[in-house]
């Protein structure tokens, strides 16, 4: 610390304030008298429940798809691997609205896959399933990035040792690789859950905003902002508390 130039403290402090001040300002606007009533209104509770359900499902789908993806990206070698690695991260930098449109042209009625689903009587767009798809689309790279990074850092020496003892690849993965990756997997899952919980653009584009079906908490907050700003602030405060809890959990996992 002592080796840092003293002037650097000023911009650092400004940056910290820039992050914290809006949160504090919002917290100051919360009407504590009506807080309970606002966050437990019918539409708020529906949105909260839907958000938790869809985000948990998305996080689960991220684990189911993301763990194999990370393993393939980190542990195999084939032509085009590095290109694939970059492509997988696209949702991370893509504006979520664009992601929503892309999903619409895939799973929507006229979409590449959607038109076939339609024939089977399945309609994905503007359903709760669409919410999960939108959330998974944007959240998956978070899990893949943290797990793949951890796999690369850890190297293959434990896996090589396990194979040298005669363990088949499946045993090596289940009993060596994944247990060693547990901290990274947990923090990756928590991060993708958080990203899914905050998802707005792709959801409203691809899934719409039907109360109880696709209107998640961020959508509810956005709509309430027009009609009932106090409710919007109260719900925002709830999401902020969730965010703080998530950071606390994720940080502890990473440090451990």
């Amino acid at each position: 610390m002592r080796s840092l130039p003293r002037w650097m403290l000023l911009p650092a402090l400004l940056g910290g304030l820039f992050v914290l001040l809006p949160l504090i300002s919002m917290g100051l606007r919360v009407q504590w008298g009506s807080f309970g009533a606002l966050v437990t209104s019918e539409s708020s509770l529906q949105a909260l429940r839907l958000s938790l359900q869809t985000s948990s499902t998305s996080a689960l789908v991220c684990v189911v798809l993301g763990v194999p993806m990370s393993l393939v990206l980190a542990r195999s070698s084939f032509r085009g691997l590095s290109l694939l690695r970059s492509l997988v991260l696209i949702p991370l930098v893509l504006p979520p609205v664009v992601g929503g449109i892309a999903l619409l042209y895939t799973f929507g009625r006229q979409g590449l896959l959607g038109q076939h689903f339609e024939l089977l009587g399945l309609q994905v767009a503007f359903s709760t399933t669409a919410v999960v798809l939108a959330q998974t689309f944007v959240a998956l790279p978070f899990l893949v990035i943290s797990l793949e990074g951890a796999l690369r850092t850890a190297g293959t020496r434990y896996e090589a040792a396990a194979a040298s003892l005669g363990a088949r690849p499946t045993r090596v993965m289940l009993q060596v690789t994944l247990p060693l990756m547990m901290p990274a997997l947990l923090s990756g899952t928590v991060l993708s859950f958080a990203r899914a919980l905050g998802e707005f653009g792709a959801t409203i584009t691809f899934a719409g905003s039907l109360q109880g079906t696709t209107r998640t908490l961020p959508l509810e907050i956005y709509l309430q902002r027009e009609s009932d700003p106090e409710a919007a602030v109260a719900l925002s405060f709830v999401l902020m508390i969730v965010a703080v809890l998530i950071i606390a959990v994720a940080r502890r996992r990473v440090v451990a």
Binding site: A161, S164, G166, Q175
Partner: protein, 336 residues
């Protein structure tokens, strides 16, 4: 479980041919970059050669269009880093190999206990690797490797990372375990080779430079590397009338009966070298190094271990001219 390796890896400049007989322990020695690790990788299945093959016990592991993956080779590697799984206890680590070999849960548990006892570390059974010392961890790694019952055991400098007071006991234990097994050990330590290996193969620049029975090779080295490994001086010259005549014309008396004019190696211990006033091999001192209670005087091609008093008396320092004499009875001469 005999092994035969014959392979070339051009990008590493390696072209090897070596055999390990059933029940034999072979030491693989050589300077850094000579191809020792490459040889182990080829046998373990971590590396595919450009051409060649690896055959274990009649089964082609690599080559002839076949490739047996590492986990099916029954070849276990023990390196200087124990690589214990950090999330498993000592017993859990050993059990892992046993379970991988298809043993039942109960049997694996019991067998792991037996191996812990065999290595004298039963009290460490429930410890995680983070709570083990280097020597303890390496014992667990040995137990784990042996419990997996490999057809061939590869040891990559297994004692190199251990404290100097831990290594001897472990080496002694390893000696007992390796005696009935087929093993290949890479080492930089002459003690490892002496106590563990039946035979030595010396690699230099990706090729086999020489090989032979341990005692034979360590008493009659044929390359500068082997001589240094064995702690011997090695000079080469032509035989003439009871002496080896070196390139510079100096004569080294030795017992032997060779054809006059034939090339002869002469090996002798540095501690047998004496300073002399006249005759002897003329040399210039290039360096002085402490060596136990003696000082190693280095000259071109010949090292001498002399007591410090003698160094002081003759005021030896780098650059000093010396004449070295070796008693004929201390010289082993053999055909080059």
């Amino acid at each position: 479980m005999s092994l035969s390796l014959c392979a070339s890896v051009p990008e590493r400049g390696v072209e090897l041919e070596l055999e390990v007989a059933d029940g034999e322990t072979l030491a693989l020695i050589g300077p850094n970059g000579a191809g020792k690790s490459t040889a182990l990788s080829l046998i373990a299945g971590a590396l595919r050669p450009a051409t060649g093959q690896v055959v274990l016990d009649g089964q082609v592991l690599t080559g002839q269009g076949r490739w047996v993956p590492p986990h099916q080779r029954q070849v276990t590697t023990l390196s200087q880093d124990p690589v214990l799984f950090p999330h498993l206890t000592a017993r859990g680590n050993i059990r892992f190999g046993l379970r991988a070999q298809g043993q039942s849960r109960q049997r694996a548990h019991r067998e792991a206990g037996r191996w812990l006892a065999e290595l004298g570390i039963s009290e460490l059974a429930d410890r995680r690797p983070a709570a083990l010392s280097g020597g303890q961890a390496q014992r667990v790694a040995i137990a784990r490797a042996l419990a997996a019952d490999p057809r061939l055991l590869l040891l990559d400098e297994p004692m190199a990372a251990l404290d100097i007071d831990v290594a001897p006991a472990l080496r002694e234990q390893l000696r007992g375990f390796l005696a009935p097994r087929t093993a290949l050990i890479v080492t930089h330590d002459v003690l490892d080779a002496l106590s563990l290996a039946d035979r030595i193969v010396v690699l230099e620049a990706g090729r086999v430079a020489e090989q032979g029975l341990t005692r034979e090779l360590l008493t009659r080295p044929r390359t500068a590397f082997t001589a240094r490994f064995a702690g011997l001086n090695l000079v080469t010259g032509r035989w003439a009338g009871g002496a080896v005549v070196l390139e510079d014309g100096t004569r080294l008396r030795a017992a032997g009966d060779f054809r006059a004019g034939s090339w002869v190696h002469a090996a002798f211990r540095p501690s047998a070298v004496r300073l002399t006033a006249n005759d002897g091999i003329p040399r210039t001192v290039t360096g002085l190094l402490p060596r136990g209670d003696l000082i190693r005087v280095r000259t071109r091609g010949v090292a001498a271990d002399l007591p410090p008093q003698e160094i002081a008396e003759h005021r030896l320092e780098p650059g000093s001219a010396v004449r070295l004499e070796i008693p004929a009875e201390a010289v082993t001469a053999y055909e080059a």
